[in-house]
Symmetry: C2
Subunit: 536 residues, 2 copies
């Protein structure tokens, strides 16, 4: 039996007799005590009203549903007969772009279904800040945003098989998402001194949130404005707070969030990584959607790109060799004729691959500067150098510079956090990369450009949607509530802005892979291999 946030217990109640005139309520509570329930159980009035004639009709054989409300159990449903086999719960990752909901069989822990939908807040902007400004200091608009958030979750619930009726829900999301879900102004998240309105909403009645669920909704608490419940949920998922070895937990998107630690300490921090990683700043950058270049290789002077929406192993070739210049367009034209999906732009994983490959091939130098003499694909457009990575799609020098700043910020955050822990960059035992970044970005490329440390690849772990996984784990194991308390208590938040040599370190990290290239021995090996005779 799972020790989750809900329970279903089948009871065969003794029939009332003159010798046993206990109340229906007491009869149920006593039977629950016999079944091992030691805690007090609250029975809300709507259930008390159902006791008669339900118990009679059920011939005193009933199944009760109990939900944990943070302090005690609440009996929120009584069904006739034994329905313990139907015991469901919901885990939700409330992302700013996508909301993902999982329906769990709370008896077996099995995932019955996973659905997702876009976060309806997107109507007010893809970036969070524009949503925050939309409803700032405006009750009506805040209510619109709240409703859109709730409806995003409800839409997921509607997609799930309606024959399942969930008791409890765990939601993990960043601080802004949780503010919006609860109907709170989120300007505080971005505005100094970043004192948010609520960081530990805990268990709230689903009906108070307008979520169509019988029991309670638990929202993962946040540590600070930028270190949200999604990261705490990631801690629960990866269990790094329990391990002997020291792990790095790295969640990077528009913002970068970072936790480093083990069972003895936890440091955390967050910084604006810049939207470059999500293709926001790059001129032809785009979301990881159909038409986006998500994988790049340079082989024999040709750029091979994979485009989302095409078969996995089918690359489009951009020919970069001398003498073939005129035919590039022709090849490109042909290859686009052969497939359904035309490249529209480049997403984060594509960018990282592209920069890594440009560097390994020597098409850009250690500072990321394009060398036009290296390839015909390096051209001049709009008064700056650029590389044509797909037909008519250019990656500019400015894009590369912007991206290198982003990666150096990310690198520097990791470096500082490890230093605060008394460790060198390569001393972390595990490097967890959460979210889409961890899922899609090539480890090799990320190491090549110096975003990840140069470490044993097997110890770089794609943590997947650890926010959702942590929500699921808590739903199935309420003892993790204590772990959450412990995590929040132990976590020390490092203000990067207050680190004296942050800028200095960041400048050092703006080289590829790093000014101190000894930190990247395997990248040096690769460079040697790719560029025979290169001087390092």
């Amino acid at each position: 039996m799972m020790n989750g946030l809900s329970q279903k217990i089948y009871l065969e109640l003794p029939l009332p007799t003159e010798d046993d005139p206990r109340s229906d309520q007491q009869r149920i509570l006593d039977s629950l005590a016999e079944a091992g329930m030691e805690e007090r159980i609250h029975i809300p009035v709507h259930i008390l009203r159902q006791l008669y004639p339900l118990l009679d009709n059920a011939k005193w054989k009933i199944t009760v549903s109990l939900v944990w409300n943070g302090e005690n159990w609440e009996l929120i449903e009584i069904e006739e007969g034994d329905t313990t086999a139907q015991h469901y719960g919901l885990a939700v990752d409330l992302g700013s772009t996508t909301v993902v909901a999982r329906l769990l069989d709370c008896n077996s822990g099995e995932i019955l279904e996973e659905v997702s939908c876009f976060n309806k807040q997107i109507q007010w902007g893809t970036d969070i800040l524009s949503r925050i400004f939309y409803c700032k200091d405006n009750k009506e608009k805040l209510e619109e945003v709240r409703r859109a958030t709730v409806e995003s979750i409800s839409e997921c619930m509607e997609k799930l098989d309606t024959s399942y009726s969930a008791l409890s829900m765990v939601v993990a999301g960043n601080t802004t998402m949780i503010h919006f879900l609860l109907g709170m102004d989120a300007f505080c998240v971005f505005y100094t001194p970043h004192a948010v309105h609520a960081d530990c909403p805990g268990f709230q009645l689903a009906r108070d949130l307008d979520i169509p669920l019988k029991g309670y909704v638990y929202c993962y608490p946040s540590k600070s404005n930028y270190l949200g419940g999604d990261i705490i949920s990631g801690m629960i998922d990866t269990e790094l707070y329990k391990k002997d070895e020291i792990s790095v937990f790295f969640d990077i998107g528009t913002n970068g969030e970072l936790v480093i630690g083990n069972k003895e300490f936890l440091l955390c921090g967050a910084g604006a990584a810049g939207p470059a990683l999500e293709g926001g700043v790059v001129r032809t950058g785009m979301r990881a959607d159909v038409g986006a270049v998500d994988e790049v290789k340079i082989r024999d002077g040709n750029i091979l790109v994979h485009v989302i929406g095409r078969p996995e192993e089918k690359y489009q070739i951009m020919c970069g060799k001398e003498g073939f210049q005129d035919s590039i367009k022709e090849i490109a034209k042909k290859s686009t004729e052969n497939v359904e999906v035309t490249p529209q732009g480049i997403c984060g994983s594509g960018i990282i691959d592209l920069i890594a490959e440009l560097f390994l091939e020597g098409w850009i130098d250690i500072r990321g500067k394009l060398s036009p003499e290296k390839s015909l694909l390096i051209q001049q457009q709009d008064n700056q150098l650029c590389v044509e990575y797909a037909p008519g799609l250019y990656f500019y020098q400015k894009d590369i510079d912007e991206f290198i700043r982003t990666k150096s910020a990310a690198h520097t955050m990791v470096e500082i956090m490890l230093r605060e822990s008394g460790l060198d960059l390569n001393q972390a035992d595990r490097f967890y990369v959460a979210g889409a970044f961890g899922k899609h970005v090539s480890k090799e490329s990320a190491i090549t450009i110096g975003m990840y440390p140069d470490m044993d690849r097997a110890h770089i772990i794609n943590a997947g949607n650890s926010s959702l996984e942590g929500a699921q784990k808590l739903l199935l194991n309420r003892s993790l509530l204590n772990d959450i308390d412990q995590i929040l208590e132990e976590m020390v938040y490092i203000q990067f802005a207050e680190v004296e040599d942050f800028l200095e370190l960041m400048v050092a990290a703006q080289a590829l892979p790093h000014t101190d290239y000894k930190r990247y021995p395997t990248v040096m090996e690769k460079l040697k291999e790719r560029q025979k005779g290169i001087k390092l």
Copy 2:
């Protein structure tokens, strides 16, 4: 400071700064912890939504209202500035006839106002059973009855000064009243095996009960179908469960409820006392309302009666002496001309006085049989003897017989309970009489007829509306919740129906004051005094 079911605490929150970016929520919780609040405090979402801009507007000086929900504190209101002086709560006695509500100053414990209104259930009958049958197995009618019950409480609340806003409410009522308040079918209360639906509703959200209050409503639990929350509340009020000496707690109306015990044991029982005590069966019986004879004396052969609605010391005289027979009507006519209120019937306290006086004067014998030779007021009407206690109002032999059965049942219950405790009738140290009976009935008369034991009058205590008093005490002192648990646990319910010699004892108690008249020495004294030369 009172340790009641609610608290108001003034907080001067430290302003958020870059060095102190705690969330608003945490800032409040930390300040509460500093103020000595050790328990977890739940903040429901509607309060989280108010934090901004309320805290800013209040310049971070706020008063928070906390209510106890049975398990932890809930923060249910935030006000600007220091409003701790305005801290109110409600205690309610939900009687089947009258609902009484008290508004309490929860800081000082002072009663600010007490109001009452008729229980709107009366539209379905003055007796509870007819109300129960009205809505038995009919959801719509049950909902009508529930609404009428809630509206009775709301009406009281409306009568109170609206400038006071109460946080919590404690309701004490019998099992049927609480069933109706919560919207539960109450047929179970009267129907074998008397297993009621709920006996410990505990704390329920006021809004779930449709009661216009911010916080929670606590309903006193009941011990059994006939031993309701009003009695448990009476225990809290009289504190007999804490005393060394042994007390009897006696609440008699349509039903009689009884508790006997001290800090070491508690026995309780209940029985149908019969409506005779409320003037229900007696031919000219009536409720203690305007026009009811509520006090009777016999002096010099004349019957002196007091009528509710007349000045306190003004008696109406019924002349019973020989030779004055013809003038009785004349005198009566005159006296009714002199006052506004005409006697309409007789209520419980009048009946007890009347029977006691008839007995002391020898107008009835030890078995309650009228002796027509003793007074001209004893006449033959409708083929039976009767006494004309007021002009045209007769108290019949059948009424006397009925009443003596009632008093012997009450007496026997007390006797059995004391015997179960290993005590004789006169060994109780305190005799608490609750409710209207205790308030209005003459102690002397009740002893004379053998309803109360013959004991030190100073130890017969009018407990007043102990149901209301107990509600008030709990409202102001939540530690009494433990006492309530303890009382329920310790109480042993005696089934009178299972006492073998119940009938035998009852027959013995059907004499005035009792077959074993040695139990009533002071009554014997009075008899001697009134009837010089009587043989006892």
